[in-house]
């Protein structure tokens, strides 16, 4: 495949990952932090941004590690451990770098970084990328799209939840319950994007 066709495919995969195959709304990944941190727009924004950054970077690193280390050694089943170690090490590294060079950024973004290691969406994106046999460029597009998709979902949810603050919700439904119902409505709305893109 030539390079321009590959970039086009990466673009298609990226847009599909944001809208039609949103990693949160249609694959249920990253639900725990989504429910926990979506109370305020500011926090949601910080976490979402951190997820985009980490997801793109770890998709690249994991792709390279999988293609050039695991496949030649025939250690395919070892990928879970390798991926999670790479993700944890990368997050730790970024945390140290940000802390050292930009204390201001650390205050807005840094507190969310440890949360990200256990975000299933990050590991999920890497596993999907391997299962679907993406090439490097397409995998980067996929990581970017998945990150943006998660970002869009959590920021929208935080906005809606701020509006809900003054509403009277049945006591059993407060917190997680109402968030899940709104997530369901959002997922329903995102199904409307099906058919915008074919393939992906």
């Amino acid at each position: 495949m030539n390079i321009s066709a590959e970039i086009w495919q990466a673009f298609v995969v990226c847009v599909a990952a944001i809208f039609t195959q949103n990693i949160l709304l249609s694959y249920f990944l990253g639900l725990c932090p989504f429910i926990g941190v979506s109370r305020e727009i500011k926090a949601a924004f910080g976490l979402g941004a951190a997820v985009i950054f980490v997801m793109v970077s770890t998709c690249m690193l994991n792709w390279l590690a999988y293609r050039y280390v695991l496949l030649p050694l025939n250690l395919h089943f070892f990928r879970f451990i390798l991926f999670i170690v790479i993700i944890a090490a990368f997050v730790q590294f970024v945390e140290m770098v940000i802390d050292r060079f930009s204390p201001r950024l650390y205050q807005t973004l840094g507190v969310f970084l440890p949360l990200i290691t256990v975000n299933c969406a990050i590991l999920g994106a890497s596993l999907f990328m391997v299962i679907r046999n993406y090439t490097f460029i397409v995998a980067v597009g996929y990581g970017l799209g998945s990150g943006i998709g998660w970002f869009v979902a959590i920021v929208a949810m935080a906005g809606i939840r701020q509006k809900l603050k003054n509403d009277r919700i049945p006591p059993g439904l407060q917190g997680a319950g109402i968030t899940l119902i709104i997530t369901g409505l959002m997922a329903l709305a995102f199904i409307g994007f099906t058919g915008v893109l074919q393939g992906g």
Partner: protein, 220 residues
Amino acid sequence: MAGEIGERGRHKLSPSARKSNLFIEGLWDNNPVFRQVLGICSTLAVTNLVLNTMVMCAGLIFTLSLSSATVSVLRKSMPRNIRMMVETLIIAFYVIIVDILLKAYWPQMSANLGPYVGLIITNCIVMGRCEACGISSPPARAFLDGLFNALGYSFILLIIAVFREVLGMGTLLELPVPFFIGPYWDKWIIMVMPPGAFFMLAVVVWVFRSIQMKKEVTAK
């Protein structure tokens, strides 16, 4: 809060009472799904079919109970500051066993579940129980705590899966259910699509929390 109650209760109760206490706590009082709303990510996705859910829950029960026990065995020799990493590796070890077994003996199921078996590693409930119980109690207790929490988690997910499959496809374990398969029932396609899972989980959380609130009120 429930942890505190557990700590206090432990000194007073006899060993057998302690075990039934763990049972009630894992399955109801401190249920991972509707009390803590943790770890739904990796399993909710496969609740559109009861069979997939059962396999996934079996994998989770295996992983959670054994990794909690392993963490507990190693708890004295584990350096404090890298314990999260060690715990993750222990969990990953058991998940790989599940993955390899499934691939070898049930390749079709392995393909159906896709990446979700691997995602048990980042299921918050596994890490959560290792941190909350495995790191601080003897192996037998950690094992039982893990087992009952996993069971509490599984029974909620099975409820969700049964409703989704019957309402959405008119089948149960891929066998037709009399009324729902017939011409009088319009299949709720939405139930087997992602939004259905969110709605169903919300309803389950709502129902169980309401029951629990009523119980607390009458207890007072």
